[in-house]
């Protein structure tokens, strides 16, 4: 045997063994030693095959800018009052603006000075006169607006990541996409409805004092005094499970918000077996909670999450321990979810689902089985056709084809690519096209044999002449596949990957491996006639 055959055989054998090692975890993961499982991942299945959820959320970053302006309105009111500036009111206006209305020029000057000093991000705009008042307009600088939006999106990503982590999904993916979009993939999720509810909760936790002076029934009819607002308390009947909403009037001013929490946990009340959420405050929060409860003993305090009252207990005594509980009426799962969102923090801005693709596990399994069947049936048909048409040489091509599919699967595993349903389609297409290179070579060999060349010379010429044709034909397909990868999303990307990998593998097996087999038999057995 010549040295070149040994070297080439070694290369093929090496590739084969490497593929075998890397593919093993895909087929029998459990029985392998742990180092093996750690070194090589099984082929990663796309959400369309294993079931799961693919979500694209859009962050309404405008809302974050609005909240920032609201805060500035609050702060500037306080500031103007502190400095004894006489002003009529401070408003947030559309278009990232806020307006301070004053009575005279002098006050206007004071306002300008104070605003410039305390809010460097605000740009003074024109002033307008409105019914004898002077309106001083300010707006957030473009840079600040961009910063707030950017921050909102990134904070939303962080918050969502925390929530997903605590929800307990194995291998979730969260990615920031352009345009303030967040991609979330939750493989194998069992309860998509719950996931959506959990991810979408803004989770703004507020503590508000109940306005005892107003009769809720009156408020429902629209009689709400200024400085108060109407909310609904959610009550679930533990026996029938029906949800009822009870109107409750609270003072507009939030006494405390949930960002001062340090932890939240579900506990079970041993007396009634009811779940409740126990919250711990951080140092600032504990102090603030202490003050509030001290000042409001005997009054009711509403615990409000996203404008829904969860409970409104009466403050019996000053609470100084830095912890509190929400003992609304909820199921254990609801309590768990509430604890999760409280722990993970609130979203800086509301999010909206832009895209939702959910595949149930049963459909995924169905798709895998059907995909595998069509690969097997298609491959068998091709193997049969090649064997019939080219006889022994067809068997060589078939060997290359089987090796090709094997290499494709191994590369998918090694590159940590994702196998999707269109990806299986890509493998199927690869099988059909993989024999093309061998067909080209064999047809050339037949042509050479016809003009009377010896087996060895015909083989030589066949491979040489077909080589560039094969390269040209495959590179163009590769171009299409690479473009597809660049522009594709999800399953389509999976198709592009298998197609590209398939092309590379088929170039190797059809040109390199099949040649090796021919050379081996030609040297070893001194073949005079090719079976082709």
């Amino acid at each position: 045997m010549s040295k070149s055959i040994k070297v080439r055989g070694g290369i093929v054998l090496g590739c084969f063994l490497l593929s075998l090692i890397s593919l093993a975890p895909t087929f029998f993961n459990e029985s392998l030693p742990s180092w093996w499982q750690n070194a090589f991942d099984p082929i990663h299945l796309g959400l369309d095959l294993q079931g799961g959820m693919h979500l694209v959320l859009g962050v309404d970053a405008e809302k974050a800018v609005e909240s920032r302006l609201d805060t500035i309105v609050d702060q500037s009111e306080g500031l103007l009052r502190e400095q004894d500036v006489i002003f009529k009111r401070v408003d947030r206006r559309n278009g990232q603006r806020l307006t301070v209305t004053v009575y005279d020029e002098q006050a206007g000057g004071q306002v300008d000075g104070l605003m410039a000093e305390n809010f460097p991000d605000l740009e003074a705009m024109t002033l307008s006169t409105e019914g004898g008042y002077i309106e001083k307009n300010y707006r957030l600088s473009d840079r600040e607006v961009t910063r707030i939006k950017d921050y909102a999106v990134r904070q939303a990503l962080e918050t969502l990541r925390n929530r997903v982590d605590q929800f307990g999904v194995s291998e979730p993916t969260l990615q920031l996409q352009s345009g303030g979009r967040i991609l979330i993939q939750l493989p194998g999720i069992k309860d998509p409805q719950r996931a959506i509810a959990l991810l979408g909760k803004t989770a703004r936790l507020e503590f508000m004092m109940v306005d005892e002076k107003v009769d809720p029934q009156q408020a429902v009819q629209g009689n709400i005094p200024a400085g108060s607002k109407l909310l609904y308390e959610r009550r679930v009947d533990s026996r029938s499970g029906t949800v009822s909403e009870i109107p409750l009037v609270v003072k507009d001013k939030t006494v405390m918000t949930g960002d001062l929490l340090s932890d939240a946990q579900v506990r079970i009340d041993p007396r009634f077996n009811d779940p409740y959420v126990a919250m711990d405050f951080n140092a600032v929060g504990a102090k603030r909670f202490d003050q509030i409860t001290a000042a409001n003993v005997g009054k009711r305090m509403a615990i409000v999450l996203d404008d829904t009252v969860y409970s409104a207990p009466v403050i019996r005594e000053r609470i100084s321990g830095g912890s509190a509980q929400v003992s609304g009426s909820f199921t254990e799962q609801e309590a768990t979810d509430l604890a999760i969102v409280l722990r993970a923090g609130s979203l800086p801005a509301p999010v909206e689902i832009l895209e939702d693709r959910t595949v149930g596990p049963s459909l995924g399994l169905d798709s895998i089985n059907r995909g595998r069947n069509s690969v097997l049936i298609g491959a068998l048909a091709v193997l049969l056709a090649m064997g019939l048409y080219y006889r022994l040489s067809g068997v060589v091509a078939n060997l290359a084809l089987i090796l090709n599919v094997f290499f494709v699967l191994a590369m998918l595993g090694m590159f940590k690519a994702t196998l999707t349903l269109p990806g299986i389609g890509g493998i199927v297409l690869t099988i059909g096209m993989a024999v093309d290179a061998n067909v080209l070579i064999f047809e050339r060999i037949r042509e050479e044999l016809r003009i009377g060349k010896t087996a060895r010379a015909a083989l030589e010429a066949g491979y040489a002449k077909a080589f560039w044709t094969i390269i040209d034909a495959n590179v163009t397909t590769l171009i299409a596949a690479v473009v597809l990868f660049q522009f594709g999303t999800g399953p389509v990307k999976g198709f592009a990957v298998t197609l590209s990998v398939g092309i590379l593998a088929s170039l190797f097996t059809a040109i390199f491996v099949s040649r090796l087999v021919f050379d081996f038999f030609l040297t070893r057995y001194d073949v005079k006639r090719l079976s082709i």
Binding site: V56, G58, Q193, I196, A197, L199, G200, E352, I353, L354, E355, D356, R357, V359, G360, S362, L363, R370, G371, N373, S374, V375, I377, G378, A381, V382, A385, Y390, R391, L421, P422, I424, G425, V428, L429, I431, G432, V435, D436, V439, L440, E443, E447, T469, A473, T476, T477, I479, A480, V483, L484, Q486, F487, T489, G490, P491, V492, F495, A496, L499
Partner: protein, 306 residues
């Protein structure tokens, strides 16, 4: 075994006018259908909307499902049997739920209320908002566009510009006809279909390049007999390869079409049509285009010298 005798010499090039009429007719029918239907029938990936695949325990009918969902008042609700299963259905609505409590949940609730709990299993939900749909559509078109540019550059570099033009026109031909057939059969264009289109481009090009390659190789040998003879000879010489490769590819795509299941059905259909059209175009369109190109050039030259 040999399907094609080595000395075969079918007159493909002589039939090019018939082929052109055939292609033009297919393209025309497709375009008329596209215009009549107001553009391609975009699936929810591109148009936005919601798709829900439901499997019922008992067999039911589309009418009953529609009745069950009547109260939801969904815009453009269609209910369609999925595959051949009498108990599996695809529900589509044009609406994409902008609120977090998704439309699919509402649909699930309504079905539970009518059919009873655990009678309807929601197996798949796809909801695409209008903005995302628009982005995906743009990306899909860009992908086809850039793939063609890339191919044009490569073929120009490896062959000549006129070959590249022929190849690209043949590709456009394939994509337009497949699009037309999709429109005629009322099938929806979705993201995977764009992938299938690109695979068709790749496949058809593969075929075309192999004939071109033979033409280039034969250029010296048959210089005297003229371009038509040269092209015809080259097509015939590669014919057995064309038939064998197209045959194996067709076999596997057919396997995918028949056994691949409902989710991948349209994708396999696109590939099936594409392989057939692509094979036709590399024999009857891509190479004869070179002759049309040469004749046109000759006429221009004749005019200039006259």
């Amino acid at each position: 075994m040999e399907l094609i005798k080595p000395d075969i010499n079918l007159d493909f090039v002589g039939k090019r006018r018939m082929a052109v009429i055939f292609s033009a007719a297919l393209i025309l029918i497709g375009l008329v259908s596209l215009i009549a239907k107001g553009g391609p029938n975009y699936g929810i990936d591109f148009a936005g909307g919601t798709l829900v695949q439901v499997k019922f325990v008992e067999a039911t009918t589309a009418k009953d499902i529609k009745v069950a969902l009547k109260d939801l008042d969904l815009r453009g609700l269609t209910v369609q049997q999925f595959g051949d299963e009498p108990n599996e259905y695809l529900l589509r609505a044009q609406e994409s739920s902008s609120k977090l409590e998704g439309l699919s949940q509402t649909i699930g609730g309504a079905l539970d209320a009518v059919y009873g709990a655990d009678q309807a299993e929601i197996r798949r939900v796809e909801m695409v908002g209008p903005q995302v749909g628009k982005d995906l559509r743009k990306k899909g078109l860009m992908a086809i566009f850039y793939a063609m540019i890339g191919i044009l550059i490569y073929v120009t570099w490896r062959f000549e510009f006129r070959f590249a033009v022929g190849a690209i026109l043949a590709l456009l031909h394939d994509v337009v006809i497949t699009l037309g057939i999709f429109s005629l059969s009322g099938k929806e264009i979705d993201l995977p279909i764009i992938a299938a289109f690109l695979a068709i481009i790749g496949y058809s090009l593969n075929d075309t390049i192999i004939v071109y390659d033979r033409i280039r190789e034969n250029q010296g040998k048959h210089a005297k007999q003229g371009l038509e003879f040269l092209i015809n000879r080259s097509i015939n010489e590669t014919l057995s390869r064309t038939i064998l490769t197209s045959g194996t590819t067709l076999m596997v795509v057919l396997a995918l079409f028949i056994f691949g299941g409902g989710v991948i059905h349209n994708f396999a259909f696109a590939l099936l049509v594409g392989v057939l059209i692509g094979t036709f175009s590399s024999i009857f369109v891509a190479s004869p285009l070179l002759i049309f190109w040469q004749n046109y050039r000759n006429r221009v030259k004749a005019k200039a010298s006259a």
